[in-house]
Amino acid sequence: MSEEHVLQAKPAFIAGLTQGNTKAASIIVALVVLGSIAALSVDTRFVYLLVYAWFGLIYGLLLQYGRFCMASAVRDLFAVGVPRMAVGMLIAVCLFSLTAATVQATGFSTFGPHPLGWHVIIGGLIFGFGMVFTGGCASGSLYKAGEGNVGSMLVIFAISFSQAIIVAAGGWLDALVPAAWTASAQAKDMPAELSVTQGWFDQFTAGYVWDLKGSTVAADLGMDGTVAGAFLANALLSAILPSLVLLVLLYVRYFRRSYLRREAVAPSLGSDLRGLWAMVTSSKSTALAGAGLGIFAGMQMWITGALREHYNIFNFGELLAAMGYENGLSLQGTVFDPGYWYITTQEAQWGGWILNQLGVDNMDNIFFGLDNGLPNPLLNAPGFMSIGIILGAAVMAHMRREFKWKLPSLETAVFALVGGTLMGIGARIGMGCNIGAFFATVTNGDLSGWVFLAGMVGGGYLGVKAFNTWLEWRASRSGEFDL
């Protein structure tokens, strides 16, 4: 094949993106519109839930467009030295921090800082390790499911049920709980229904996590609630400066040498700045997706905050109760309702709700019984955000002719289930995933997210090493040619 022929093929590829299956994409959007109208016709207050659903749809469109996945970011870095996705992620962090600061300044922020302790880095480590084997992070698995990837659906299944089981598990796991956690949990005089001295996760939560402090940079500097605190402390110091440092490190480690050689220029401050910009803009779709995700994530928080003020509520559970849906509410009358982009907790609720319907009594723990509730999936607002991500990704995949039902091999299915289980366990120990424990925290001034990222990257590094060892062992046995 001649080079000329290949180069002429490039426009055909781009043209293909606009000649996708618009019919299938239109049907999905029409179904979401019809579903939204049906929900509003039942009760207009379901607009609160629909905000989650539609922002999920937008996230799905953007995630698929930029092939945005933190598992790819880690794998590409450590397996082949490509910083493309890590760069996109950092762009998203910078922009979300600015939109989040705007929301904080207007007083509509729904964010609460995460307690910082060893659990954050340990959770990140387990999550990152598992993520490499599934081939997708929490949000990446959702968008890949929207592309028709059945393996990613198995990952979601594993994340859901592993969390649902781990937060309610007792038995021999209780023997591993330090006595200090049990004593601390007992001293908190919790409702008897929760039996907090039984079940390791309850004791971990009430006896350890609740004794830790969560804070934002603005609060630490005495600037909480001010515009300067939002923009200078929570955005600039917590998110933008660390992101810029990481971008420079990525450039020096992975991009600079090839850039200077390719451009045939001598090292200088000017050439390095141009090289840094070339790295940031090297994958326009990833950079654009990162920018869009950052902006829309802030908008979602602002709109949800405004709706809470409009309905004079603190949590969606109050609205559900007012509409007559009290089943599945927690002891406090709440449900999981972060008001911003989140992935894993609503997936835990899906698994937990199914187990509950099968007769498992799993409302006697803090995670479901006191904090997040177990609402019917049809009333689970953040759950609809995850469904929206799947549907949004399906729309984009159809439009780009990239939707394809893809069945996993036995090996891929096992990796999806085992890796997804590790991700679920890591998410619960670390109190979130790559979105809830990292993306949403650092952008709102909570430095615990960088600790989670450090753990996740460390786990990802170990995962890549383990995965490569597996591939080499398998190739040596079968004599196949590995890449």
């Binding site: 094949m1 080079e3 290949v6 180069l7 093929a9 490039k10 055909a12 590829f13 293909g16 092939r67 996945c69 790819s72 590409d76 082949v80 030295g81 490509v82 910083p83 493309r84 996705m85 592309e147 992975y254 991009f255 090839s258 850039y259 050689r261 390719r262 090297s282 994958s283 779709s285 990833t286 002719r401 990239e402 394809k404 893809k406 590995d482 890449l483």
Partner: protein
């Protein structure tokens, strides 16, 4: 990566993939290993990606 190591400077390799993320990563990979991404063709259910060892002389 191992295949690229076995190529002579200027030789072209065709990679077939049905993984969108891989298709997106390969051009970026060529940049950091000083190879050249010649083009990508979308087929019905997969992509053909053409990569050349060494920098473009265009």
């Amino acid at each position: 990566m191992k295949v690229m190591d076995q190529l002579q400077e200027g030789q072209v390799i065709e990679v077939l993939s049905d993984n969108p993320a891989t298709v997106e990563t390969l051009p970026a990979l060529m940049f950091v290993v000083c190879g050249t991404h010649l083009g990508t063709i979308k087929e019905l259910d997969h992509w053909r990606v053409y990569l050349r060892k060494g920098l473009s002389t265009d």
